[in-house]
């Protein structure tokens, strides 16, 4: 590899470079095939087979059917509903907050918000659940001070979980939309104003159309994150709200029955299908917004 590249002919150089490139990428591909591919295939295979210790497994659609009926279906729909609602609120709130931060004159504010967002979006999980339990749980600080329970408030409900999820979804939205907001040219606004447009008209006809791909992309990202979230709900013991991640965990822990494990695999496959649909929407959008906002 250390021969002087200038001595080789261009064609041979290119060939050698391509080979070197493949060689450098090979470890990654092998690793992903082993550490990710094997479990993924095992999951898909298990979703379509029976499991009886000591007996050969047989192909069946039973697990998939079971995962799409009764309580399992309720939890799948519950997860979709919770993710969609919280992602929607997260997009709007995140956009407002990001815009407020971007247009602020204080540089420190931007640094603080960005780094706090990084922590909350990536490390939230368990500490987040505790923070909300001590604030708004049954014996929480605000619950007891403001007598919220008398008004029918419960943290361990659909609304409660939405409120908690927003705590890491809004930061995630802020992180993903700030680059696009930075990309909005000052001149566009000035041009609109010179043509007599109001602030509302500028947003309605210039800024929002340009931002649409990244807003949709943000929605999809938030949806996927909320859909996959497990730690927060598990730490809050929010079993009162049916969520598919909680169902899978219960089935996997083996407290139910041997059959349930394979139904858990089927539910995992359902999740993968939904997440795949979500990514199929997300990737092209991200590319499109990148084209606008160079």
């Amino acid at each position: 590899m250390s021969t002087a590249p200038l001595s080789a002919t261009p064609a041979r150089r290119r060939l050698r470079k391509a080979a070197a490139g493949r060689l450098a990428v090979a470890p990654l591909l092998v690793f992903v095939a082993l550490a990710f591919g094997v479990p993924a295939v095992a999951m898909a295979f298990g979703a379509f087979t029976t499991y009886n210790p000591g007996q050969p497994s047989q192909y069946t659609m039973g697990n998939i059917t079971a995962s799409l009926h009764g309580g399992y279906l309720d939890s799948l729909l519950g997860s979709v509903k919770l993710s969609a609602l919280s992602a929607l609120i997260g997009v709007v709130a995140g956009l407002l907050l990001a815009q407020a931060v971007v247009t602020s004159r204080f540089k420190m504010l931007r640094t603080a918000v960005l780094s706090a967002s990084g922590v909350l979006a990536n490390f939230g999980g368990v500490p987040l659940a505790f923070a909300f339990i001590t604030t708004l749980g049954n014996a929480g600080m605000l619950t007891t001070r403001l007598h919220l329970d008398q008004h029918g408030w419960s943290l361990y409900s659909f609304d409660g979980l939405t409120l908690v999820y927003l705590y890491f979804l809004i930061p995630l939205m802020v992180l993903s939309v700030i680059p696009s907001l930075d990309g909005l040219r000052r001149q566009w606004r000035e041009a609109a104003q010179n043509n007599g447009a109001t602030t509302w008209q500028y947003w309605r006809h210039v800024a929002l159309p340009v931002l649409t791909p990244s807003l949709l992309g943000g929605f999809v990202l938030l949806f996927g994150t909320a859909f996959a979230a497990y730690a927060t709900a598990a730490a809050m013991v929010g079993a009162s709200v049916p969520l598919i991640t909680l169902q899978i965990a219960t089935a996997l822990s083996g407290n139910v029955s041997a059959d349930a494990t394979n139904v858990a695999l089927a539910m995992s496959l359902d999740m993968v299908v939904i997440a795949t649909l979500v990514m199929v929407v997300y990737l092209p959008l991200q590319r499109r917004s990148a084209r606008w906002l160079v």
């Binding site: 690793f31 550490a35 479990p39 490390f123 939230g124 500490p127 996997l252 695999l265 993968v272």
Partner: protein, 273 residues
């Protein structure tokens, strides 16, 4: 203009209230010792509470391993992608995005199936000891593999963005014309130039591993995040809450320092994606 500023102020105020209230009331919870009043006992106990240190040690070990493996796998890849063909980029991008499609709980389900299969079928073979070794409680390789997979999407994007900010081709050729081998050029010229992106990647991976709960708890290991939840249900309430608050604030502080240090160079990508 005045109206806009008013709107901005109220947005910031509401967001501030929403994000600060839970933290403040949690802080209050940890220092308020009902009958006797203010007390820092919960924080003093952090140093003596049983189980915290082993759990933290496990998490930090796993984080170190994950960061090392992520760098080992991704740095050559990112260089190759930058120099190579668009087709290579597509393949790598797709590979690194795949884990996003499988939520961590689904990955866990897959891993536990593989482990179950190995347990049923490997017992009579000599591989069984290796298999058990990968699940060793002091350093579970299974968790390490899962964490690397989970870190790939974000790590690739961050490193790739850092690499894009460099003129890698010119740097490499200059180094090679001066007699450096390719590997040496990468280590001594390219890497120092993207230390912000490397630091960001390392840090985000650390945060991911420290906060990871799903895989570890279902597979039955007790790293940091799992210990906090277990400890809380075992009646060590205020201490575990104090630990989780301290860890959250420490992480934030670290990231604040990091982003302040990295601000001069545009190399790093923002967190998130």
């Amino acid at each position: 203009m005045g109206r806009i500023r008013f709107g901005r102020a109220s947005v910031l105020l509401i967001a501030g209230l929403y994000f600060v209230t839970p933290l403040l009331s949690t802080l209050w919870f940890t220092v308020d010792n009902s009958p006797s009043g203010f007390s820092l006992d919960a924080y003093r106990q952090i140093f003596t509470v049983p189980g915290l240190w082993p759990a933290l040690q496990l998490s930090l070990l796993l984080a170190l391993g994950t960061i090392a493996l992520v760098f080992l796998l991704l740095i050559p890849t990112v260089v190759a992608v930058r120099l190579g063909s668009p087709r290579l980029r597509t393949v790598v991008e797709l590979t690194c995005t795949l884990p996003l499609v499988v939520p961590s709980i689904a990955l866990t389900a897959g891993i536990s199936t593989v482990l179950r299969w190995c347990n049923d079928n490997l017992a009579p073979t000599p591989f069984y000891r290796t298999f058990l070794l990968t699940q060793n409680g002091t350093f579970p390789v299974v968790l390490l593999l899962a964490y690397v997979v989970m870190a790939l999407p974000l790590a690739f994007r961050t490193l790739d963005a850092g690499m894009r900010a460099l003129d890698v081709r010119t740097l490499l050729e200059a180094a090679q014309n001066n007699g450096a081998s390719r590997g040496r050029a990468i280590v001594t010229v390219i890497l120092p130039n993207m230390r912000t992106a490397l630091l960001n990647t390392a840090f985000l991976t650390l945060a991911l591993v420290l906060g990871e709960f799903t895989v570890a708890s279902i597979l039955g290991y007790v790293p940091f995040a799992v210990w906090i939840v277990n400890g809380n249900s075992a009646g060590q309430g205020p201490v575990t809450v104090a630990v989780s608050i301290v860890s959250l604030l420490l992480t934030w502080l670290l990231l604040l320092v990091l982003s302040a240090g990295g601000q001069r160079r545009g190399g790093g990508a923002p967190a998130g994606s």
